[in-house]
Amino acid sequence: MTLLEIQKSKLILPSFVLAVLVLLLAGLGAYRQGRRNVAAEQLVRHTFQVRGELNTTLSLMQDVETGSRGYVISGEESYLEPFNNAVQLVPQEIQRLRQLTADNPEQQRRLDALEPLISLRVRTAEADIVARRTRGPSAAEQTLSAGQGKRSMDAIRGTIAEMAAAENRLLEHRSDELRASNAQTLALFMALVVLLAGLLTAVLFMVRRNAAALQRELELTEKARVYAENIVDTVREPLLVLDAGLRVQSANRSFYQIFRVTPQQTEGKLLYELGNGQWDIPALRPLLAEILPQHTSFQDFEVEEDFPGIGRRTMLLSARKLFRVGNSTDSVLLAIEDITEHKKAEAMFRGLLEAAPDAMVIVNRQGDIVLVNAQVEKLFGYGREELIGRKIEILVPERSRQEHAERRSEFSAHPHLREMGVGLELYGLSRDNREFPIDVRLSPLETAEGTLISGAIRDITERKRAEDRLRKLNAELEERAVALKIANQELEAFTYSVSHDLRAPLRHIDGFSKILQEDFAPHLPAEGQRMVQRIRAGARNAGQLVDDLLGLSQVGRRELKLEVVGLKGVVEAVLRDLEGEAQGRDIEWRVGELPFVECDAALIKQVMANLLSNALKYTRPRPKAVIEVGTRQKDGQAVVYVRDNGVGFSMKYADKLFGVFQRLHRAEDFEGTGVGLATVQRIVHKHGGRVWAEAELDKGATFCFTLRRGLEDEGAA
């Protein structure tokens, strides 16, 4: 309601009072005018009465005149009857007139004048009658003609007419007065009616305005009520409103939802009788009891009870007196907070904290220790109670405390996650003044009490030691690597020198032997020729051995140059190289489908060359050699094999097959250095593959190999 409206509503009462006063005034006026009118009427009646009496008197006097004259003229007694009657009545009339005009001295004076005139006239008439009776009609007529009677009668008439006129004047005057008074009253009435109408209109207007405002106010109040109810219903905390006797007046939606009860089970019931009486808690009773009389309140009263349907819960109760406008009865608002989950979470948090492998310290922004776990007690040797409330610097060595406090302030200003082992070398200080290296992981912890900082502290003494050991080992390893590198370089220099220096004399031996053979043949006996032949063969053998060994060492030192290579092409190239060796022999080459593989092309060619030339070599005794190259699957891996129908070997020597200088055949039967298969194995191993042989003495041999990359994935091309 606006201020203006309130002011208007204040005008209603005075307006109304004024209207009543006006009405009273009007009533009073009407009453007075009524009274005046009644008086006026009486006066009029009085006037008419006087005039009537005057007329009657005149009429009686005329009866006196005419009666007496009739008798005088006719002598008949019958004329005397009205005469006698009139003579008798006239004095009464006079008397009556005197009474009627007693208040009017003027009329009284006229009556005084009238009375003797009447008496004269009556006496005159009586004298005439007597004269008739005694002296006859003529005497009487003489008397009449004398005119005595006529004169007194005129006088009577005149006086009566005077009196009537006086009365008429009086009446006229009074009528005028009454008219004026009536007009006045009418005017007053009109004025009052207009005023009243105005006032009532104003009142009506104001009342209507007020009623509208009131309506609006009511609507607002209703809205506010609904709003408040909605709020109460929306509040997640269960709320109960209790009356002075602690009976439930109302409960919000949350209450019904959380405690799974219906309004029927709740409203009107005594708080202590709700459910299975779980609210009937001895400590709660006095608290609730004194709220209304003492205007007290309580907050966060913790209750742990079994509640039907929802089990054991922990609740926080808060209550206070509820003031309700327009409701004189006092109520108690009881707010209930279910903190069971919170409690569980807290218990879980504490459990986690205690179970953490690290020492956990939680501090507030001022650096006061708020919480520690058992690991902290163990690590630093303090009891929990000795640490809570103390500055965190108690756990920091003296020399770093100042710096630590500064860093802590910085961190508090901008809390962020700080991982373990970032940058700083930190040390902890135990209760017995022992320092030890630690790693600390900091993270901000948002809580209801503000931002806390949680620190996970780990004793890294062992790790430091391990790191030191590792560092030492690494240093040693590095030394060894250097030594190894030197050794490798020496080895390289050695092989280089071997290739040069060892091959040279062999070459010379063969060269000069050849020259000897050719240029001095005539001087050499056959046996000498044979010896020279043997010298040359030995030199060539040794040369081959040196070359093979160099090849083997080169495989070891070489870095793989991987590319995708079609094995079929490799095999074909090798076969072309072997054409010379194969010349003049009956050989069936069966080259099957072979895959593309990722490998070092030169090395893989050497593998194929060694295997195929071996096959060629060991099939020499066969009239028809059958040499097969192909692929087969084994354990999901593609295996390349080279199979021959040669002399084979006994599997009991299979383990020696790939060793350097290992030979399973005599040099006279099959030449060789015993390096070829060792080279094959080294190359295959270098590719991450595997090589093996399957054979039976005199029944041929099969050499198989895999390469880690490519063989498995690539299909046969």
Binding site: H500, R503, A504, R507, H508, R540, G543
Partner: protein
């Protein structure tokens, strides 16, 4: 037919006397050795090629037609000789064949990088060696057209 009457001059840079003899033998056998000069170390080889020291009387106008260069040499080694040769405009067009026992990859690579015109390994088998030398001589002295003499350029 081969033109063997053409004047040829081979410089054999080889420290080992056995190798010298065998190589000469092989060249003789190929009937290519009209004029062969042997230097026993790198320094001497450079003196010869750059016409200085003991060989000051030589002229760049008459360069050798082929250098057979061993790698392992006293004083200045073969690769150094090759580098010096190929870095000098007066000598860089002379064909140089590395003739060595080594088949080391790094020697091959360095040799070719420095501008060697060929690389041959001396086989242990003398028959093969002889054949190799014969073919080399045949190619470089007969088939191959040598660069024009330096003065012709100016």
């Amino acid at each position: 037919m081969m033109d063997i009457t053409r004047e040829v001059e081979i410089l054999l840079v080889e420290d080992n006397p056995d190798d010298v003899e065998l190589t000469q033998h092989a060249l003789r056998a190929g009937k290519l050795c009209n004029s062969i000069h042997v230097t026993r170390d790198g320094e001497e080889a450079l003196d010869f090629l750059f016409c200085r020291g003991l060989h000051a009387d030589r002229s760049f106008d008459r360069p050798v037609q082929l250098v057979l260069l061993d790698l392992k040499l006293p004083k200045v080694d073969g690769l150094e000789v090759l580098r010096t040769l190929k870095n000098d405009p007066r000598t860089r067009r002379i064909p140089v064949i590395i003739l060595t026992s080594s088949r080391e990859e790094k020697d091959l690579i360095t040799g070719y990088d420095l501008g060697a015109n060929g690389y041959a390994q001396k086989p242990v088998d003398f028959d093969e060696f002889r054949e190799a030398v014969r073919q080399l001589g045949l190619y470089w002295l007969v088939v191959n057209i040598p660069p024009p003499p330096l003065h012709g350029e100016k």
